[in-house]
Symmetry: C2
Subunit: 327 residues, 2 copies
DNA sequence: CCCACACATGGAAGCGCTTCCACCGCAATA
DNA sequence: TATTGCGGTGGAAGCGCTTCCATGTGTGGG
């Protein structure tokens, strides 16, 4: 059944007429080796199609060479969101460039031990957590401290990479004000995600300056929630003239909900989102939003972790207003 | 610096007052163990916070326990596509349920050796390839034969899991015909993806039956290409009254291109897509398309691989027409 | 011409784990 | 009471690899 036995370093050494130690040195490029030995070993490697066994190597070097990416919040809310895909993609690229494997994990929000279990042995070189809660972050095993980075949460006690939600929100809401909107509602993210606090804060601040009343509805980053939120908002505050959602997906849902209500956008109500996902430009009306260097953020997180750089504290990336048709 | 030494199975055994062999039996749940031993070992595991080292385990069991998911076509075209995200997500779920790790790989289309290199040791339990070309598939090392499944390509010489492109296309195009459209253009997928052939074939067949002329434009599954394709189509065949794109993303682009041209949808031209991505229902007009059990397909592929089931040949899944506003 | 030194090399240990095998004590059977 | 059988157990081997260490070979300087 098995039949094909894969070549081991022993086979290579034997074929090259050297010891396993020498073969190892050549293959890894560490330590001295004569040109002659080098040639013979590389030839043998090629001939036998030798590929080092990652497990065995990791076992002895203790240098787990794998980047784990954990996405917290194992729900459709997270899975459908292109934002998550962008983070994954970018982090995976960084890992691929350095030839380290990537492992993907979807962790339910409610399971506090899951992050800890993820350490599964010492196989990982680092861990990038997307949208983690603070409690979840605290369960990360001590062995991994200094090799963890969080993406998308302005947490303080772990290297955190996020867009500057405060400034981004400020920019969008000010744009709304500038274009004559004053009864602006906001659909936030899920309450367990701390990054939303900073955004809501910025929103309240702008409203205070412009003399508006805050109208906050809690969302969950889904489109479905956005549609419902639109209905809620218009029922509760019928004179609303703008809705800002902290997620494009939600904003798209708002657009939909408003449309169903017969409300014209941007005529009656302006709508703005956050993230600038690919579809933001394809909706009708095209969505005004704030664009984020999501790929840069994720790449930076992955790099920090892989470099074992201990960048404690949070790094915020700038976002830029993108004015389209909806606001 | 290092400080914390993680507990090994030896530590557990010592703490529990049993041999390492017994500790291993309890931890893995394989082999006999007295209730007494079982209790003591589990207690020790909890006390020491022991987590088995995956590398060491994989090394001895030779049962690489990791599902690799490789996405071919390392371009924005692929990365932005929600379809890929859905496949990833679903496959990752299956893996998570069985407690096997997932590793993600983005492979450039042009690099034929990359799939082979992916075997990196014998660490993998299986490989799911998304949108592979036939040549790419042929480079998969012999050691992995029987542990590979392809998603999204009607290939024959590897277990392949795909939607029934033929039937799906047939359904959509017939719907177009049924609603009075006869000058129907089609935007295909990239030419290197064999699954498109079956779709084009179905399209031609329906047109032949209904007396229409085929109008085929090659696409690449991106929205940008869709927008350009719309312009090309209207320039080349100005009397076109329907466009069918083999990807929702592309269809959305077509919608956009048509809009820019001042063409009304569905008034002047009907537009239909394929895949039923989340945004299909959110566009204006909402996109008529064909819905696919992408999650089921990906899950089936992952399961087949993980079960070492050798389901050679292709399995096709049904798709269903979703009529919305655009056609 | 000999000694020292660097460099190249092979032997062997050991990473943490699973698993074969031999062993022991016990209850059930003859 | 002597034998069989079996569940529970520990010893030990070994998975494929890196790396320490001791040994061997060549070169330079004295």
């Amino acid at each position: 059944m098995t039949g094909v036995r894969t070549a081991t370093l022993d086979d290579v050494a034997r074929a090259a007429g050297v010891s396993r130690a020498t073969a190892s040195r050549v293959v890894t490029g560490q330590g001295p080796a004569s040109p002659r030995a080098r040639d013979r070993v590389t030839a043998a490697v090629a001939a036998l199609g030798y590929v080092p066994d990652a497990s065995a190597r990791a076992l002895v070097t203790r240098t787990g060479t794998r980047l784990a990416i954990a996405v917290i919040g194992h729900t459709a809310a997270v899975l459908d969101d292109p934002y998550v895909g962008r983070v994954l993609t970018s982090a995976a690229h960084v890992a691929a460039e350095r030839e380290v494997g990537v492992s993907l994990h979807w962790l339910p929000l409610a399971d506090p031990g899951s992050l800890a279990r993820l350490a599964d042995g010492r196989g990982l070189g680092g861990l990038v957590v997307v949208n983690p809660t603070r409690p979840a972050l605290e369960t990360v095993p001590r062995t991994l401290r200094g090799r963890v980075a969080a993406v998308g949460v302005g947490a303080r006690h772990v290297p955190s990479f996020d867009v500057d939600n405060r400034a981004g929100t400020d920019g969008v809401v000010r744009h709304l004000v500038r274009t004559g909107r004053h009864r602006i509602a906001m659909v936030t993210g899920p309450s367990w995600l701390p990054c939303g606090d900073r955004a809501v804060d910025a929103y309240r601040r702008v409203l205070r300056d412009s003399g508006g009343e805050p109208r906050v509805v809690t969302g969950d980053f889904t489109a479905a929630r956005g549609a419902k939120a639109a209905v809620e908002i218009m029922a509760r505050w019928p004179d609303t003239d703008a809705v800002f959602a902290l997620s494009d997906l939600t904003a798209l849902g708002v657009l939909d909900g408003l449309h169903a209500l017969g409300v014209r956008v941007p005529g009656d109500v302006a709508v703005a989102g956050f993230d600038d996902i690919a579809f933001a430009g394809l909706s009708r009306p095209a969505l005004t939003t704030s664009t984020h260097p999501v790929e840069d953020i994720a790449a930076a997180a992955a790099q920090a972790v892989l470099d074992r750089r201990d960048t404690s504290g949070a790094t915020f990336y700038p976002s830029a207003l993108v004015v389209r048709d909806s606001a």
